[in-house]
Amino acid sequence: MLRFRDLLFRHTLRVTLLLTGASAFLAAPPAFSAGLPGSGLWPRVVGIGLVVSALLLPKEKNARPILTADARRGARNLALSCLLWTVLVPSVGWTAATLLTGTLACRSGGCSLKESLILSLSLSASLWFGMERLLHWPLPKGALFSLLSGV
C-alpha cells in the first residue's frame, strides 16, 4: 500500500506539466487573427505538446527520497540565506546584505566565526571591487543609504 506522500511525489511532475500546458493553451491570445496565424498559435502548439508529453511520461518507479537531518538543515539554511539576502538588499544595500548573509551562511555551513568573517569579507570586497570599480556596474546601495545621505 502506497503512502499518500509517496503517491503525491509520483504524480507531482505529471500534474505540474499538465497544468502548465493547459495554462499555456487556455491563456494564449487567439491562434488566428484576420485570417492569419496570430501570436497565440505557437503557445497553443506548445501547450498541447506539453500536455501530450506529460501524459506520455513514464510511470514513476522511485520512491520519494528520504532526506537526512543534515540534508534538510542544509536546504533550510540555503533557503533562509536566499530569503534574507532578497529582503535585506533593497533596505540596507548590497554590501551589508552580502556581508551579513555570507557570514550567517558560512556559520550555518559549519565554518568558525573567524573563517566566516574572512570569507564573507573577502568575497564581498572582491565582488564589490570587480563590479563597481572594474566593470562600473552600480550595485544597490539600499533605501537606508539614500535616507542617511539625503539622496
Binding site: 496565424p37 533557503a79 565554518c111
Partner: protein
C-alpha cells in the same frame, strides 16, 4: 550562395580578426576566462554549465568580442576542470568526463596524478587546436550551405536538433521531450517575437519582460547544483596526492589524441550530447586498437588521451553550428547564444561577412584560449589538485552570493534573484524526478527563434 565568403574575403576577414587580437584587454579577458572556468570547473560539485552560469552576467558589462571570448574561455576551462576532478577525485564534473575517469583515476591512485593531469592537458590542447583548425576549414562550406536555407529550413534544423537531444539526452526520450516542451513554455511569457504583442503575462507588468536567461541559467545550474549537493550530501573532497613526472611523450598517446580529436570534431557538429558520445567512442576505439586492451580500466595512457582530446574537440567544434547556423548543440552553447543576443551579435551564415572582426577574432581567441589552457594546466597542476580538495562548507556561501548577485545584475533588479531561487527549486524538483534540466535550457533559448522561423514560413505561404 554568397560568393563574397570565398577565399579573398577569408584572408581579409582573418586579417581583421588578427587586428582585433591586438587589444591587450582581449588577451587578459581570454586568460581570465580560462582561469575562472578551470577554477569553477575544479571546485567540487560544479561542472561547466554551473561555471558558465555563475560568470554569465559579466557579458552585460563587457564589449562583444572580449565578453564572448571570456565566456568561451570559461567553457573550455571548465571542461578541463571536469577532467581534473575525474582524475584526482574519481568524480566527473559531468558526463563528458566519465571516460577520462576510467583511466585517469586509476593512474592517480597509482601515484601518477600529475602525469595524468599533464597528458589530459596536452590531449585537451591537441583536441582544441585541431577542432579550431577544422572550424576555419569547414566554415566556408557550412556557411555557404546555410545560406541556401530559408526560414522553413532553419526551423526544420532546430526542430531536428531538439528531437536529437530528446533521443540522446540522459533522462530518456519521454522525459526529455517533456523537458523540451517545458523549456518552450517558459520562453512564452513576454513579447511575442513576431508581432511584438504581450502574451501570457496574466496582467502582470513584471512578466512582460519574460523569463530572464541569466536567472534561468544561475537557478538551474548554479543554485540547483548547490541545493542538490546540499540535499544529497554529495559534497566531495579528496586525499589524493598529485605526484610529479613528465607528459605526453609516447607516440601511441599522441596518435590517440589525434584520433580522439577527429572523432570529437565530427560529433561536435551534431546536437546529440557530442562530448559524451565522442569520449566514449574514442575510449572504445583506443581499446580496440590497443595491443594491450587488458590495460584499459587500469590506467592506459591512450585511453586517457583519446577521450580527453575528443571531449575538447567536440566542445570546440560546437562553436561552428552556433556561429554559422545559430544552432546551439548543448546547454552551454545555448547560454552562449543568449550571450551573443545580449551583446548584439546575430549568429548565422552571414556572420563572417557582416562582423568579420568579431567572427575571426573569436576564432583566434579559441586558439589563444587553448594555449592558455595548456600553460595554466601544466603550470598550475599542483594548484588545481589543492583546489579540488577545498571543503564544501567554504564553497557554498561563495556560490550562493555569486548566484544572487549575478541574477540581480542580469535582470537589473530584484526580480532576477527571485526567479533564480524559483528555478533552483525547479531544478532540484526535476532532478528528483529523474529529469535533466539540459534539454529545458536548450529549448528555452531555441524557442523564440524556432517560433520566428516557423511563423515566417507559415506567413509567407499563407
Amino acid at each position: 550562395m554568397d560568393a563574397s565568403f570565398a577565399d579573398p574575403s577569408l584572408f581579409a576577414g582573418a586579417w581583421t580578426g588578427l587586428s582585433a587580437m591586438a587589444s591587450p584587454e582581449l588577451w587578459l579577458l581570454a586568460l581570465a576566462g580560462v582561469f575562472l572556468g578551470m577554477t569553477v570547473g575544479v571546485l567540487p560539485g560544479f561542472g561547466p554549465p554551473a561555471a558558465m552560469a555563475l560568470l554569465f552576467p559579466l557579458v552585460y558589462v563587457l564589449d562583444p568580442l572580449p565578453g564572448i571570448a571570456l565566456l568561451a574561455g570559461i567553457f573550455y576551462g571548465a571542461k578541463y576542470g571536469g577532467a581534473v576532478t575525474s582524475i584526482l577525485i574519481g568524480i566527473p564534473g559531468e558526463a563528458d568526463a566519465v571516460a577520462t575517469l576510467f583511466e585517469g583515476h586509476p593512474l592517480a591512485l597509482g601515484g601518477k596524478a600529475r602525469q595524468a593531469l599533464s597528458v589530459a592537458t596536452m590531449a585537451s590542447f591537441t583536441g582544441g587546436v585541431s577542432a579550431s583548425i577544422g572550424i576555419v576549414l569547414l566554415a566556408p562550406v557550412l556557411s555557404g550551405a546555410a545560406l541556401f536555407l530559408g526560414p522553413g529550413g532553419r526551423a526544420a534544423i532546430m526542430a531536428c536538433a531538439l528531437l536529437l537531444v530528446a533521443c540522446t539526452g540522459p533522462g530518456g526520450f519521454r522525459r526529455n521531450l517533456a523537458m523540451i516542451f517545458l523549456g518552450l513554455a517558459l520562453a512564452l511569457p513576454g513579447m511575442d517575437p513576431v508581432y511584438g504583442e504581450a502574451r501570457l503575462t496574466f496582467g502582470q507588468w513584471r512578466l512582460s519582460g519574460g523569463v530572464e536567461l541569466t536567472s534561468l541559467l544561475l537557478g538551474m545550474f548554479g543554485l540547483g547544483d548547490l541545493l542538490d549537493a546540499l540535499m544529497s550530501g554529495s559534497q566531495n573532497t579528496t586525499s589524493e596526492r598529485a605526484d610529479s613526472v613528465p607528459a605526453l611523450n609516447r607516440f601511441s598517446t599522441i596518435m590517440a589524441a589525434l584520433r580522439g580529436s577527429l572523432i570529437g570534431f565530427v560529433t561536435g557538429l551534431v546536437p546529440c550530447g557530442a562530448g559524451v558520445t565522442a569520449s566514449f567512442a574514442s575510449h572504445a576505439l583506443e581499446k580496440r586498437l590497443s595491443r594491450h586492451p587488458e590495460r584499459f580500466g587500469k590506467g592506459a595512457w591512450e585511453g586517457l588521451a583519446g577521450p580527453e582530446a575528443s571531449n575538447n574537440a567536440a566542445a570546440m567544434a560546437s562553436f561552428a553550428p552556433l556561429l554559422l547556423l545559430g544552432l546551439p548543440t548543448n546547454p552551454i552553447m545555448a547560454a552562449l547564444l543568449g550571450a551573443l543576443t545580449v551583446v548584439g551579435v546575430a549568429p548565422g551564415p552571414s556572420l563572417p561577412n557582416e562582423q568579420p572582426a568579431f567572427y575571426w577574432g573569436l576564432i583566434f581567441c579559441l586558439f589563444l584560449g587553448n594555449a592558455f589552457l595548456l600553460l595554466l594546466g601544466l603550470g598550475l597542476a599542483g594548484f588545481w589538485a589543492r583546489l579540488a580538495r577545498l571543503p564544501f562548507r567554504l564553497l557554498w556561501p561563495a556560490v550562493l552570493t555569486l548566484c544572487l548577485t549575478g541574477s540581480y545584475v542580469g535582470a537589473d533588479g530584484m526580480s532576477g534573484p527571485a526567479q533564480c531561487v524559483l528555478f533552483g527549486a525547479l531544478a532540484v524538483f526535476l532532478k528528483r524526478h529523474a529529469c535533466s534540466p539540459a534539454p529545458l535550457v536548450l529549448a528555452f533559448v531555441l524557442g523564440p527563434r524556432l517560433e520566428t522561423h516557423l511563423m515566417q514560413t507559415l506567413l509567407s505561404g499563407w
